[in-house]
């Protein structure tokens, strides 16, 4: 009995285990930022892409400008604009609870711009003959897009989308700038508290494993779609 108690005491007082527990808890926030951004930016990117490819020039130009700004300025800066903008520009006081939504909004707006360009490349790579065959067979424009074009675009854009998604995992650490309690924020706090590198290394392992799983899943999906060329 005494032996077991010593073991429990050892573990509950272990700094490393405490660090891991804290990181694991904040890792939940990181994963949340990741998935919410993916869920919002993938379809939003499709919307931006379709407007960007619109025949109505002013809309297409507006989207070009939007994409240009989103890709041309730092994500960190965009985070600040989204978080502090309401107060500085409109004088609206925002509470602390706006931190997390601000992160999600900024990430989604930013990543949607990248996804829009990836989709556009994908859509433009589909041979015009696919549209013509669908047209002659009587498919409506909407049917043509969702049944014939989109599945092929998804297959073709999977590798560049995987790239973006892996970058996103690492970019979630930028939420640190707004004091959002995701894993990197906690790792930094622990590191300075303990004056030790260990929390950073532990966080690195978490990020790496997560991205390993992401890359593996996307690879699996790519393989699933490998039944045609």
């Amino acid at each position: 009995m005494g032996y077991l108690q010593t073991l429990i005491d050892f573990y509950s007082n272990s700094t490393l285990l405490k660090t891991l527990r804290l990181l694991w808890e904040s890792f939940g926030v990181t994963v949340e930022i990741f998935f919410l951004t993916v869920i919002f930016s993938l379809p939003l990117g499709m919307g931006i892409c379709s407007l960007r490819m619109s025949k109505f020039k002013p809309i297409a130009w507006l989207m070009r400008i939007y994409i240009s700004i989103m890709r041309g300025t730092p994500l960190m800066l965009q985070l600040f604009v989204i978080y502090y903008g309401p107060y500085y520009i409109f004088g609206i006081y925002v509470s602390d609870s706006y931190r997390f939504p601000a992160v999600i909004i900024a990430f989604s707006l930013n990543y949607a711009a990248y996804f829009a360009e990836i989709y556009r490349a994908g859509i433009q790579s589909i041979p015009v003959g696919q549209y013509e065959a669908a047209d002659v067979l009587g498919y409506s424009r909407i049917q043509t897009f969702f049944k014939i074009i989109l599945p092929q675009v998804i297959k073709r854009t999977l590798p560049p989308v995987t790239n973006e998604v892996i970058t996103l995992t690492k970019d979630t650490s930028l939420a640190f700038a707004l004091g959002c309690a995701e894993m990197f924020t906690i790792a930094k706090r622990q590191a300075s508290g303990q004056t030790s590198m260990t929390p950073y290394i532990a966080a690195a392992v978490f990020y790496y494993i997560f991205n390993f799983v992401v890359a593996y899943s996307m690879g699996w999906l790519e393989k699933k779609l490998d039944y045609y060329r």
Binding site: G129, Q130, V136, L137, G138, R229
Partner: protein
């Protein structure tokens, strides 16, 4: 009643006039071949006939369905409503030079998808017909394959089956053998010959002059956007009257 009839078709891309005053009537069961040099407007004509392009002038009719016509007060051809055109699309089929099968669909789904999802026909009935068509094309064993697993000739036969499944009144071919090795050309020409024997109405744009001569009832020679000469194969290919036709056929060592 003519299956397909056009009068005085005109089509321009910007300032380039590609079709100039094209008139043609295709009767039921007739096989019409369109021959001519590149840039003569053959393919554009086929694209206008299959509604992939809109003409600027003239009238076009499938059976009693008007596709477009000249109307007083308009300086261009006026097209029928979208719903009327949707109906017209069920009257014809088009076989492309590059097959344009849907790569993510199996052979069977390529054939079945439009009848089931667009025309809302019963899946079971369509499947039976699709399998019968594949049988006829000698491809029954490939029903579950994907286009990338087939040879060019097999893909083209699938695309012919896809065009036939909706029982079109008329079938257009846009250089159906041009993307194929000479070895595979024969199998497609055989399919077309079989269809002709079954009195399928067809319009074939082709460079295979011998084939056109053998299979068609009517040959059209086009050059520079005009129909220069038309008539029976014996007339147009055997004994062309127009110097332009003569020059073209001579170049092909015919």
């Amino acid at each position: 009643m003519a299956v397909f009839e056009v009068k005085h078709l005109g089509k321009s891309f910007g300032s380039l006039q590609v079709l100039k005053d094209i008139s043609l009537t295709v009767e039921h069961g007739q096989v019409v071949s369109i021959i001519g040099p590149s840039g003569s407007g053959k393919s554009t004509f086929l694209r206008c006939a299959t509604l992939l392009e809109q003409v600027n002038h003239g009238t076009m009719k499938y059976m009693d369905q008007v596709v477009c016509e000249e109307r007083s007060g308009f300086d261009h051809a006026v097209y029928a409503s979208n719903s009327a055109l949707k109906k017209v699309r069920t009257l014809f089929g088009l076989v492309f030079q590059n097959f344009n099968l849907f790569p993510h669909y199996s052979v069977l789904k390529n054939i079945m998808d439009a009848p089931v999802c667009v025309q809302k026909r019963k899946s079971k009935e369509v499947r039976e017909q699709a399998m019968a068509l594949l049988e006829r094309m000698g491809l029954a064993s490939k029903a579950k394959s994907y286009p990338c697993e087939l040879s060019g000739g097999q893909q083209q036969r699938v695309s012919i089956a896809r065009a036939l499944i909706s029982k079109p009144q008329i079938l257009f071919f846009d250089e159906p053998t041009s993307a194929l090795d000479p070895e595979l050309t024969g199998e497609i020409l055989k399919v077309i010959r079989d269809l002709a024997a079954q009195k399928m109405t067809m319009v074939i744009v082709t460079h295979e002059i011998d084939f056109a001569e053998a299979v068609s009832d009517h040959v059209v020679f086009m050059a520079d956007g005009y129909i220069v000469e038309q008539g029976t194969p014996a007339e147009v290919i055997g004994a062309p009257k127009n110097p332009r036709t003569q020059a073209f056929l001579r170049k092909l060592n015919h």
